[in-house]
């Protein structure tokens, strides 16, 4: 049994709304480019959301300056997913967000002044902790009760969706807004540069010449509703989340295992949970970061699970950049759109298959096939592997 999705919202380098993101995906238009809003980093390019913090605060009606960009992006997407829904005394409503950096975009402003003893503003740190990022979004939306934040590096957003679905199926909640948000920061850009996996050129997922990722920022949110909530709200499901699984790779702190153990487990268990056959998966929205290690390990996992019958797959990271904790949620929104619109997105910047695995992702937009079930992968540091399965609402 799955859980219904009745609302979606997204903000990323390719648009401020679902509609704008969809248009860019259809037009194969990447949002990655030179940094404009975040100054002073060493990255030559990234997937920035095309709005300043002031723009976002104005548009969202947030008056305080003590708010992280992570919260603002999250609020933008959460508002869109929430839509015109009303608070209710009867429908137990929760909020689960995911973030990897929380308010680091503000904390690093503080810390720079702190190090140089240049009147550091300690108040900036009140937005540092990841939980406060979510509490800010909850306060703006008027949600109280179950408010939670997950942080499992690059799989966080997918895990928020999984936890939300489980809470509904167990009857703990009737309705839950789930998603993830992360803002670009000097901290993460320097971090991935220190790992020597930040590509100064365009990232090239699943290409033999791939040399690393481009970071991005943004947020994705989905409104999940159980049966009781659907009866009371009268909302019409746009899609279902029907499969989910998380598994630990337990191989290495950062590297994925060459045999794709954790990823294989996550994919297999998610599809089993969805109760559909391997052949029913119409499209795989891959994690596909563009690093040597991830794309190889993920390709091996796809082969482990699907053998010679790997469904059409692509990574949308070359559109948005790798948005860390938001990635699983943004790509969940893209997966819902793939089903709604019967779309298979192109894997931009791909030319040559990876020699060891020989897999070719979808390189051109495909609008000619029905898309009924999508597998979405999100794999993170610490060997944290998650897969979700979305299916058409019947």
């Amino acid at each position: 049994m799955g859980v219904s999705i009745t609302g979606i919202g997204v903000v990323s380098a390719i648009g401020m709304s679902v509609e704008e993101n969809l248009r860019s995906l259809r037009e194969s238009k990447s949002g990655i480019g030179p940094l404009h809003y975040l100054q002073g980093t060493k990255a030559s390019r990234a997937g920035e959301v095309k709005a300043s913090n002031d723009d976002l605060r104005r548009a969202l009606g947030v008056s305080t300056e003590y708010v992280s960009r992570t919260s603002l992006l999250g609020l933008q997407a959460a508002r869109e997913a929430w839509g015109d829904n009303k608070r209710s005394g009867v429908i137990r409503t929760g909020l689960i967000s995911a973030t990897s950096v929380g308010g680091m975009d503000r904390s690093e402003v503080f810390y720079k002044d702190y190090l140089s003893q240049n009147k550091p503003d300690y108040q900036l740190l009140t937005t540092h902790d990841s939980g406060s990022t979510t509490e800010r979004i909850a306060r703006e939306l008027g949600i109280t009760g179950y408010i939670n934040t997950l942080s499992t590096a690059c799989s966080s957003g997918a895990n928020a969706i999984m936890l939300g679905a489980r809470l509904i199926l167990q009857g703990t909640l009737d309705r839950v807004l789930v998603g993830g948000t992360d803002a670009l920061s000097g901290f993460t850009i320097d971090g991935f540069r220190s790992l020597m996996i930040y590509d100064e050129q365009w990232c090239r997922p699943f290409d033999e010449s791939r040399a690393g990722l481009n970071l991005g920022e943004g947020a994705g949110f989905l409104l999940l509703e159980g049966e009781k909530s659907l009866e009371l709200t009268g909302n019409v499901p746009v899609c279902q989340v029907s499969g989910w699984a998380n598994a630990a790779d337990a191989y290495h702190q950062t590297a994925s295992s060459p045999d794709g153990k954790g990823a294989t487990l996550a994919i297999e268990n998610a599809i089993r949970r969805a109760g559909i056959g391997l052949g029913d998966i119409s499209y795989v929205n891959a994690h596909g970061t563009g690093t040597k290690n991830n794309d190889h390990s993920e390709s091996v996992a796809l082969k482990n699970v699907f053998g010679d019958h790997i469904p059409p797959f692509s990574s949308t990271k070359a559109f948005t950049g790798h948005t860390l904790a938001a990635a699983g949620a943004i790509e969940a929104v893209f997966s819902v759109l793939a089903i709604q619109q019967n779309l298979i997105y192109p894997n931009l910047n791909y030319q040559t298959p990876i020699a060891e695995t020989g897999l070719a992702p979808v390189a051109q937009l495909n609008t000619a096939v029905p898309v009924n079930a999508v597998l979405s992968n999100s794999f993170g540091f610490g060997g944290n592997n998650s897969s979700l399965v979305f299916t058409r609402y019947e």
Partner: protein
């Protein structure tokens, strides 16, 4: 005694937090990335690249290039001398 190799051993112990080891514990030809040697991993390889730049002014941009250079203290010393002579 080769002072470059001795320095390298001290730097490796510090950079990689090998708190239980002393310079005397690391043989010149011990395999750094082998479990019979120091048992280092890919994170250590990145730390060694930082070490080369920090202490020896040598930039190694491609981690793959480090594989040969970082076999042992012997090969690291030889690599540093080659790069300095070039």
């Amino acid at each position: 005694m080769d002072s470059l190799k001795e320095d390298l051993k001290k730097q490796i112990i510090e950079q990689l937090n090998l708190e239980d080891l002393t310079v005397a514990d690391i043989a010149d030809d011990a395999l750094l990335f082998n479990d019979q040697g120091l048992g280092l991993d890919s994170i250590d390889a990145l730390e060694l690249i930082v070490l080369l730049e920090k202490y020896h002014g040598i930039q190694l941009v491609n981690p793959e290039e480090g594989k040969e250079a970082f076999k042992s203290v012997d090969t690291m010393a030889a690599y540093i001398r080659k790069r300095k002579a070039a």
